[in-house]
């Protein structure tokens, strides 16, 4: 590899080098977890198939029609909005998490593919998956079978609701699972139709962190006992602790929090305030906002000073935390009026310099241009042979002796077939040739795959 590879000379050994993990994860939670393990040196091999398109992994469809790409819905993000010859190698979400990973194509739904899969299991340390139980049973991914083949295997299973239980075959994405777990209703606007609220995926992010941590815990368990282990990390159960205090208020006091929006339970102001629009033609993209929080009387007085509003500082409605909180709508209206003609970045810095917690609500361009983000080296230019040269987000943490750089671009479909078939599965040259000829080992989805 030359493209996207930096600093390999005299490079320090990475903490997970020498470990091999098979990856049959889909969508975002699972792949985001294996990304961390690959970043830190594990050999993560994505098992893919040229005859089946894994839902929402390398895009939503293998060959999306132009009309769909134009809508930019469902995580499209193709370079220049062009799906290109091999759209599956050009999807933004996939190309974010798939760096450092390897890719092999083999069809686990046919006996020949299962035989190769068994060889890979025998020679690997872990397998990570995030699908419903029935899909995994169909592919023969059960602890009983796999631990028989490799008793030292660390098997990480991340269905939404568990491998046992009433929802074991209930297939969702993060947003539906979060809806069931209560997050959208908790965060949506007060006194509004809940249908207008957001639907984000913090559970997918937490799922990735949980999957990677589960593997490290499995590894420690194996080091102590010599035995493999199955770890069950249902993404819903993994996510619920991130709403811990709301669970506790219900179980301790019977209180059901709902539709909180940006309200804080006791601070005001605590809100997003509209600022002066940026220039631009696309509605929505020009909107600018700042968030401001006052946690004490002193901070509120400082805010009034910056607002040059001595009357506000003396206003009985806002004297003291409780009064401000009670009259927060009126206060928000006044602050909004003040922010409406200001630049959010200037404002956030001025407020922070005065000891007030504030921030610009940043879009993607703001993040790329942010001086703090730049100084901490969050982005790195990486060249991908089919998606071009782009700034790539690197790592979310800074470790003093573990390198923080991208060494290899996102993997192409089937890019490592020869290595995996021969070196890992132990097939001969002739055998490998056979798999290439039958199309099992390839770099394109079959024509009939949509």
């Amino acid at each position: 590899m030359t493209n996207g590879t930096t600093g390999t000379n005299g490079r320090k050994k990475l903490p997970l080098e020498g470990l091999r993990i098979l990856d049959i994860t889909v969508v975002w939670a699972g792949p985001y977890g294996t990304m961390h393990l690959a970043d830190w040196g594990a050999e993560v091999i994505r098992i893919e198939s040229t005859s089946h398109f894994a839902t929402s992994s390398r895009g939503t469809m293998a060959r999306p029609p132009k009309a769909m790409v134009a809508l930019r819905a469902g995580g499209m993000g193709y370079p220049d909005d062009e799906p290109g010859e091999r759209p599956w190698n050009r999807n933004a979400i996939f190309n974010t998490h798939a760096r450092h990973k390897k890719s092999v194509t083999l069809d686990m739904t046919v006996p020949e593919g299962q035989e190769i899969f068994e060889r890979l299991i025998k020679n690997s340390d872990g397998l990570i998956e995030n699908n419903v139980a029935i899909s995994m049973e169909r592919l023969g991914v059960t602890w009983e079978r796999l631990s028989e083949i490799n008793p030292r295997l660390i098997l990480i299973r991340q269905p939404a609701f568990g491998i046992e239980g009433p929802y074991k075959n209930y297939r969702t994405w993060g947003n539906h699972m979060e809806a069931l777990a209560g997050h959208p209703l908790l965060r949506t606007y007060p006194n509004e139709d809940p249908a207008r609220g957001p639907s984000g995926v913090p559970s997918d992010a937490a799922g990735g962190i949980g999957g990677a941590l589960a593997f490290l815990m499995g590894l420690r368990y194996r080091n102590k006992t010599g035995k493999g282990v199955m770890i069950e990390a249902p993404t819903a159960e993994n996510f619920i602790p991130l709403m811990g205090e709301f669970v506790m208020d219900y179980t301790m006091n019977g209180r059901v929090h709902t539709q909180l929006g940006n309200q804080h339970p006791y601070f005001a102001p605590h809100q997003a305030y509209r600022c002066k629009d940026a220039e631009g033609a696309v509605p929505g993209e020009t909107e600018r906002w700042v968030t401001i929080v006052c946690r004490s009387d002193a901070e509120f007085q400082a805010l009034c000073g910056i607002m040059e509003a001595p009357g506000l500082a003396l206003d009985a409605r806002f004297s003291g935390a409780l009064e401000r909180w009670k009259h927060r709508s009126e206060l928000d209206a006044l602050v909004s009026q003040w922010t409406s003609d200001k630049d959010p970045s200037d404002l956030a810095h001025r407020l922070q310099d005065a000891g007030i917690a504030a921030g610009m609500i940043m879009n993607e361009r703001d993040v790329l241009n942010d001086p703090h983000v730049k100084e901490r080296g969050f982005f790195q230019e990486v060249t991908h042979p089919e998606a071009g040269t782009h700034q790539n987000p690197t790592y979310g943490v800074k470790l003093s002796k573990t390198p923080n750089e991208i060494r290899r671009h996102a993997v192409l479909l089937g890019q490592d077939n020869e290595y995996v078939y021969k070196e890992v599965a132990g097939h001969s040259d002739d055998e490998y040739k056979h798999f290439v000829e039958t199309g099992m080992a390839g770099m394109d989805y079959a024509e009939n795959v949509s």
Partner: protein, 415 residues
């Protein structure tokens, strides 16, 4: 020697926990879940400031009444210590000598000012992992800026794209951004433990809540790459972005569905209108990507959802492979059949509250440690400690101090 009956991944790891509030305690709580001995250092008399934050049991404040503190501090031992006194600082260094990990969440520079910076800790223990969690990290122009979930999410997460086009952008609930950072810190700390075991060299971790949000609390990573690919900026949608997508009203609330050209056929089958698939405007993915279909199809879908409850819709969605889920309250969640059947929520007894249910484990190890490889279930968690509950136990046990020495420290107001 006590008999070791079961093995947990971190049962040989001691964590010296100098964190407070949300992100740090969330990190050490997870390390405790998987077996680490977590020694939590608390300020004398008042303790972790989260003891003073709601929800309080029966809404009455008190040092031992915060549900937030109880949730965040299971499986920890509490030691009160004055970090600003010379003797207190020495005791921390002595505890660090026998610890594998120190986690701290003070503002950048505070640990150095206390004489407990990386250099001092490394001198005490050359194999130490030092995990520092702060709002913006130890370097960079925002280093000393104030955090708060709403700001950190606004800067780091996809808040600009969260919510409705004619409303303000909306944050994630509660302290989720801080908790996420704590979770990432637990992962990075565990990696670093592996690393130290390999080469015997200590490591320092700089965890920025802002950076972990950017990397990413809600899929921002993919959006950043998307922007790099085609210049598309996220914004709050002016309308449903795809056919059949949205939170639709039903008999007893709302049901969230993901539609779109790819998934629409299953939704059409679910509502029993297969004949639509025979029509040219619904026959192919390209045809179904027509934005004009959005309103047209909702006229078929919503009467059908209005006729059914959330629970009925969930069953239908599962049956037809439709991506969907009910908009539940926390109360619905606690009573949901899946979490009840799996006994996910764990009852923990506490002197203030009696037995109360807490969120369960993030993940469960199915350990074949029983007789003939039978599975041993996960251990029960220990309740959060009372303030200073383990001061004597830790000072005598871990540091070997005598009763007289401990009494003197107490008289000198060090502990």
């Amino acid at each position: 020697m006590t008999e070791q009956t079961t093995i947990m991944p971190l049962d040989d790891v001691r964590v010296l926990d100098l964190t407070h509030l949300a992100a740090g305690p969330f990190c050490t709580r997870i390390l405790g879940d998987y077996g680490a001995d977590v020694i939590k250092i608390e300020r004398r008399e008042t303790g972790d400031p989260s003891r003073g934050l709601p929800p309080f049991y029966k809404d009455e404040p008190g040092t031992e009444r915060s549900g937030l503190f109880m949730f965040l501090n299971t499986n920890k031992r509490s030691v009160t210590l004055d970090l600003k006194s010379d003797r207190g600082r020495e005791l921390v260094l002595e505890l660090a000598r026998d610890a594998d990990v120190v986690v701290e969440s003070f503002a950048p520079g505070t640990m150095d000012a206390l004489g407990l910076g990386y250099v001092a800790l490394k001198a005490a223990n050359p194999r130490l992992v030092l995990t520092s969690i702060s709002n913006y990290g130890k370097t960079g122009p925002y280093r000393d800026y104030l955090g708060m979930d709403i700001n950190l999410y606004g800067m780091g997460g996809n808040m600009i794209g969260a919510g409705d086009f004619d409303h303000e952008p909306v944050k994630t609930a509660g302290r989720m951004v801080n908790y996420h950072a704590g979770y990432v810190a637990a992962l990075a700390t565990s990696l670093s433990l592996t690393s130290v075991e390999l080469d015997g060299q200590s490591e320092q971790l700089d965890i920025s809540v802002f950076e972990t949000a950017t990397h990413s609390i809600d899929g921002r990573l993919g959006r950043l790459m998307g922007y790099e690919h085609n210049g598309h900026l996220s914004s709050r949608p002016t309308r449903a972005a795809a056919v059949a997508s949205g939170a639709h009203p039903c008999k007893d609330g709302y049901f969230l569905i993901t539609g779109g050209a790819r998934f629409l056929p299953n939704i059409i089958r679910m509502i029993g209108m297969e004949e639509l698939l025979g029509k040219p405007e619904y026959a192919t993915p390209a045809a179904r990507a027509n934005p004009d279909l959005i309103d047209e199809f909702l006229a078929h879908l919503i009467p059908w959802t209005l006729d059914r409850t959330k629970a009925e819709l969930r069953v239908e969605a599962e049956k037809h492979g439709v991506l969907g889920g009910p908009l539940n309250t926390i109360e619905d969640l606690l009573n949901d059949e899946s979490f009840v059947a799996r006994e996910y929520f764990q009852e923990i007894d506490h002197p203030t509250t009696g037995p109360v249910k807490y969120p369960g484990y993030h993940f469960v190890l199915h350990r074949p440690d029983g007789e003939d490889g039978a599975e041993i279930s996960m251990p029960k968690r220990r309740r959060a400690p009372l303030l200073g509950e383990h001061t004597d136990e830790v000072l005598s046990g871990a540091l070997g101090l005598s009763v007289g020495e401990i009494e003197r420290l107490r008289a000198d107001r060090v502990i």
